[in-house]
């Protein structure tokens, strides 16, 4: 058990210190569902699960009304945990969701008191800077759109562990923004493509400026967002010799290594299963972050 002090200490863990999921799926009650920018934040109380590590995800399906559009969604959908809070034996889980299809549409419409089928927490979480690079002590978080979700929890955990953290967030437009509420009390820079808030342009432009200055030394970059953004981050970091961890997406049917569907091409050739060997992966391990089918 190689626990990560201050980050994910509780619950049974395996090899890389990831908290283990209870076996099987369980029903979790929804306790709120609020608008946040163009997204929704909903909370569910997990009666069994461990406190997840930042970067892990859950497979979610509404207990009722799933399959309601022409027989879809059929499978559960993967969502990063955006915040979590142990409450006695239970854990409150917060998810930040953007409605893009039948599954996210149904989840966006969840009412308080409805129940979710949940399995998780799943996958490989973010690693603290000194695990990624010996001696590294700072973190730069780069989020784009709905990709800011896992970074919200990660920022909280890093802060609790006393890791100096800067946050760069980018949004396309007002409709595709939200979740800023999850970054209360952060040192935060925002970019938006339509200029509705912060810098007008890409969040990777903010990162480029930051990496160009000396103050990126000894920092690890943690990024989550659309494939094109992740690819830009990966290339920027490679160019500057900065370590980066990317939280990626791929179509997932199971989330626990059963279906081999979530293939992501490796730099060394072949594929990894993103659900068990990710979703957080080192930039250097990837052939590309532009995985076909991997995000909108």
């Amino acid at each position: 058990m190689s626990g990560k002090p201050g980050i994910a200490e509780q619950g049974p863990t395996l090899d890389d210190g990831r908290p283990l999921a209870p076996f099987g799926r369980r029903a979790c009650r929804v306790t709120r569902n609020i608008a946040s920018g163009g997204y929704r934040i909903f909370s569910a109380v997990d009666p069994e699960g461990p406190d997840p590590a930042a970067g892990q995800f859950y497979m979610l399906a509404a207990e009722s009304g799933w399959a309601a559009e022409d027989g879809r969604p059929y499978l559960a959908r993967a969502f990063s945990v955006a915040d979590s809070d142990p409450e006695g034996d239970r854990v409150r889980l917060d998810f930040l969701v953007q409605g893009v299809g039948p599954g996210t549409g149904r989840l966006c419409s969840l009412q308080e008191g409805e129940r979710l089928w949940v399995h998780g927490p799943l996958g490989r979480p973010f690693g603290v800077p000194r695990e990624a690079v010996p001696g590294a002590h700072g973190a730069i978080l780069v989020g784009g759109g709905i990709g800011i979700a896992p970074l919200a929890l990660w920022r909280r955990r890093l802060a609790a562990a006393g890791v100096p953290t800067r946050v760069l967030l980018g949004f396309r437009d007002r409709e595709r923004s939200g979740g800023l509420d999850l970054f209360r009390c952060s040192e935060l820079k925002v970019a938006s493509e339509d200029g509705h808030q912060g810098h007008r342009g890409y969040v990777t432009e903010l990162l480029e400026v930051m990496l160009r200055g000396d103050d990126a030394d000894g920092a690890v970059v943690y990024a989550c967002g659309p494939p094109a953004m992740l690819e830009a981050v990966r290339l920027l970091c490679a160019e500057r010799g900065v370590a980066c961890e990317l939280a990626m997406e791929a179509p997932m049917a199971c989330g626990f290594g059963a279906c081999f569907g979530c293939a992501v091409p490796l730099a060394e050739g072949g594929y990894m299963r993103l659900c068990v060997d990710g979703p957080v992966v080192r930039g250097a391990d990837l052939a590309t972050a532009l995985v076909p089918g991997g995000g909108h």
């Binding site: 999921a21 559960a76 059963a258 081999f260 594929y271 089918g293």
Partner: protein
């Protein structure tokens, strides 16, 4: 609800479909709880090929109404990698082990069957015949003759039970009869139905592999007919599968003549589905025997 499959004792009639549960990866996600409450009464490995394969390029999945298309492409470590790395771990599972193999020639199948059958961890072998014979170009499992001749090639190599897994893409009864006549100990079906999807953006086929196989509740009624016709046509055991999501679905397959039921895609939605279905099944039989 103890069951017997070709002489292998099973605690209940629910196993997994090949390629739909990776017990090693699942242990990484769920830890020892997986072993303590193992969902299946036997474990069927993912299909192993002679050489390592990395599988098809992504995307590999497409959700359909009540179903899933997969175009995975049989990624696996190859026979040697499997025997060296995976088999010892799978041998530690609390249930009998069935190893699924596929080759594209009799030679390949012979290598696979003899390499796998000699290992004591292995209770039975499943021959995945949804593959072309590279020599004839025919999909083995779509042809009674090809299937019979494959059995003739591998049957002499082992006394362990050989299960032949049929494809649903051609009428299965003649193929099942050929497999039985060639000495198969059991038939399993259905594998996935050939299917495809278009990129919603208009960029041609969505799947990296071009096409794939459909599974899940969408195929359940097709599976039920194929299982019932095959069970009526052969006297060896039938492992029925295709869209099973509940004890009721499993009971339908048993009523149709299956000896054992396999759960595939439903495990993706609920990792412990096999356990749930087995207990729904025994509740049904408990109720119906008392009622």
């Amino acid at each position: 609800m103890a069951t017997d499959l070709c002489g292998i004792e099973l605690a209940h009639p629910v196993v997994n479909g090949s390629g739909t549960f990776d017990a090693i990866a699942a242990q990484r996600a769920f830890g020892d709880a997986l072993l303590e409450r193992f969902p299946f009464s036997a474990f069927v490995s993912k299909t192993i090929t002679p050489e390592p394969r990395s599988g098809n390029p992504p995307p590999r999945l497409w959700e359909t109404p009540s179903g899933l298309i997969n175009s995975i492409g049989l990624p696996n470590k190859g026979l040697d990698g499997f025997l060296a790395e995976d088999l010892p771990r799978l041998g530690e599972l609390p249930v009998p082990l069935v190893v699924s193999v596929m080759g594209t020639s009799h030679d390949q199948f012979r290598r696979l069957v003899s390499g796998v059958a000699e290992r004591e961890e292995v209770a039975a072998l499943e021959l995945n015949v949804s593959c072309p014979n590279v020599e004839s170009g025919t999909i083995v499992g779509e042809s009674p003759d090809e299937t019979r001749s494959l059995l003739d090639a591998v049957r002499p190599l082992t006394d362990k039970p050989l299960i032949v897994k049929l494809t649903p893409n051609a009428p299965p009864v003649p193929v099942a009869i050929a497999a039985e006549s060639g000495g198969a100990d059991a038939i399993s079906l259905i594998n996935t139905l050939r299917a495809t999807a278009m990129d919603p953006g208009g960029a041609g086929p969505w799947l990296g592999g071009g096409s794939g196989g459909l599974s899940g509740p969408a195929v359940r009624a097709i599976a039920l007919l194929q299982v019932s016709e095959v069970a009526a046509a052969v006297s060896i055991a039938v492992v029925g599968m295709g869209g099973v999501a509940s004890g009721g679905d499993a009971a339908d397959l048993l009523e149709a003549g299956a000896a054992v039921v396999a759960v595939g895609t439903e495990s993706f939605r609920d990792p412990a589905a096999g356990r749930r279905i087995a207990s729904e099944l025994s509740a049904r039989f408990g109720l119906s025997s008392s009622g």
